[in-house]
Symmetry: C2
Subunit: 291 residues, 2 copies
């Protein structure tokens, strides 16, 4: 059984095919240009694969309201050509198969639930910390959308006492994304995060912000696992620092052994590594086929 998968990022498009076991059998990637330029390549890629369904995890914001005529559209992005683009409609016109669709981060959360670090659990929260901060939410066995979909990268946290950086978010200045995404680290320290030593103050600050946000999510949603992916989280020294901040912020209040005793297995990297997004899209395709 061949299923198609698209991880549609704001800068990079990844297409692949896989099977119902979550195995990616083939993949290609190319830069995300206008929808026409980009999807021409995607259509050419999937044309002869015989994919029975295609799952898409897309950068957003996207319309996830099944009752809306705008379902499956990318909505308000500044990205050229994509504002108001009917992503699902375009794919349906070229491939008369079920099309699964969700945000890139919800897709990644779903992939982790099917085959990764949250396998078999009925809830998890997936963060990607990279050029932006995105959050996918899976709760009570369902991907959460609501009015729009989670945008938890933009929550406010308290400021670190030594941080005078004003933040980079065009909407909120010093929200989590504005302070903790990769570009914020680079702008604050004048050097790419990957070039900073592991014991640099930058990482303590990063963990302070992420830890607060994650503690907030734990209080609000009580997820059964918290998964942290994205380029910034390749800095593995962040994991113990973040767990420490979360423990400090919760201060024993949430009385679950997973949090009080086993935080090393509670706040974890993606089990699918950097393939969480594409595997998640694959999982969305499988779900679309089954429903």
């Amino acid at each position: 059984m061949i299923i198609g998968a698209i991880e549609a990022g704001g800068t990079k498009f990844i297409c692949g095919v896989g099977n119902e076991k979550g195995e990616i059998l083939d993949r290609i990637s190319f830069p995300t240009e206008t929808p026409e330029e980009t999807l021409k390549q995607a259509v050419a890629y999937f044309k002869d694969t015989g994919a029975l369904a295609i799952g898409i995890g897309s950068f957003g914001p996207v319309n996830m309201d099944l009752s809306s005529p705008l379902y499956g559209h990318v909505t308000t992005t500044p990205k050229r050509g994509w504002k108001g683009f009917d992503f699902v409609g375009y794919m349906k016109r070229h491939f008369p198969v079920p099309i699964g669709f969700d945000t890139d981060v919800n897709a990644a959360a779903f992939g982790e639930v099917k085959w990764g670090a949250a396998k078999g659990l009925d809830s998890c929260v997936y963060y990607t910390i990279g050029t932006g901060v995105g959050v996918g939410v899976y709760a009570e066995g369902k991907l959460i959308h609501g009015l729009v979909h989670p945008e938890g990268g933009h929550v406010l946290t308290r400021r670190h006492a030594e941080d005078i950086f004003e933040g980079l978010c065009p909407y909120h200045g010093d929200c989590l994304e504005g302070l903790a995404a990769g570009p914020a680290i680079e702008k604050r320290w004048g050097i790419k995060g990957s070039a900073l030593p592991a014991d640099h103050l930058a990482w303590e600050m990063e963990a302070y912000y992420l830890g607060q946000a994650i503690a907030g999510v734990i209080l609000l949603l009580s997820p059964k696992r918290v998964i942290l992916g994205g380029g910034v989280m390749h800095q593995e020294q962040l994991f113990p620092l973040i767990r420490k901040e979360v423990r400090k912020a919760l201060n024993g209040y949430v009385a679950a052994p997973e949090i009080l005793e086993d935080m090393d297995t509670y706040i974890v990297p993606p089990g699918l590594g950097d393939h969480a997004g594409l595997c998640g899209a694959l999982a969305l395709g499988i779900k679309a086929l089954q429903s």
Copy 2:
């Protein structure tokens, strides 16, 4: 069809009976003492009602894990006699009918979805701001539990520039509950909130904290309605102040007309008024009967 309902608060116990239309036909209330003292009265009340099921919305934390032998227990409360008490088990021993069980705030959210301000919606967040701050979460048509259950009253917010009060939460000091619950207002200003004039700085500060927390919930969960109940919200001047803070915090980022244009119908008081909790317990009872 007669269904029993219990709104088990930390200080006050309310028992009632109602029907499948959400009509409360009778109710009594008495102080919450030890489980034995309190539930003796509840048992006596329900004894001859012929209730086909009983729903309970309980103060917490409670165990909501259906696969756990501790399901239906109150867990870590400091309240005398209630720590580790098997609430559902006790009721089942006295009434061989289906027992619905959830937190008081999840119950209230559910009541509002069935018959109140979120009627017919598949998501809402319910806040109670009173002696504490509690949050119930309903998303994608389900009450959210996860590892434990939502405890969103304890999130951190940024401090108001003019607020020097250290906060009252025994766990977190100046978390939302520590700064914005009724006792915090009274301690900060040396007078009960209900005695403060409507244009007092206290309410601007209150709205500042609640607005931040609600903006965070909107970003993370994108609920279709936000309902604010509890004693503190009897101060109706808070609603426009809170909406203003939420609008400021989001700054146009969540592009939904419900938020950008119709915030007066998006952040609202409970449609069931102070009966949200008991009606919610009734709804839990009906759900238990149907499942």
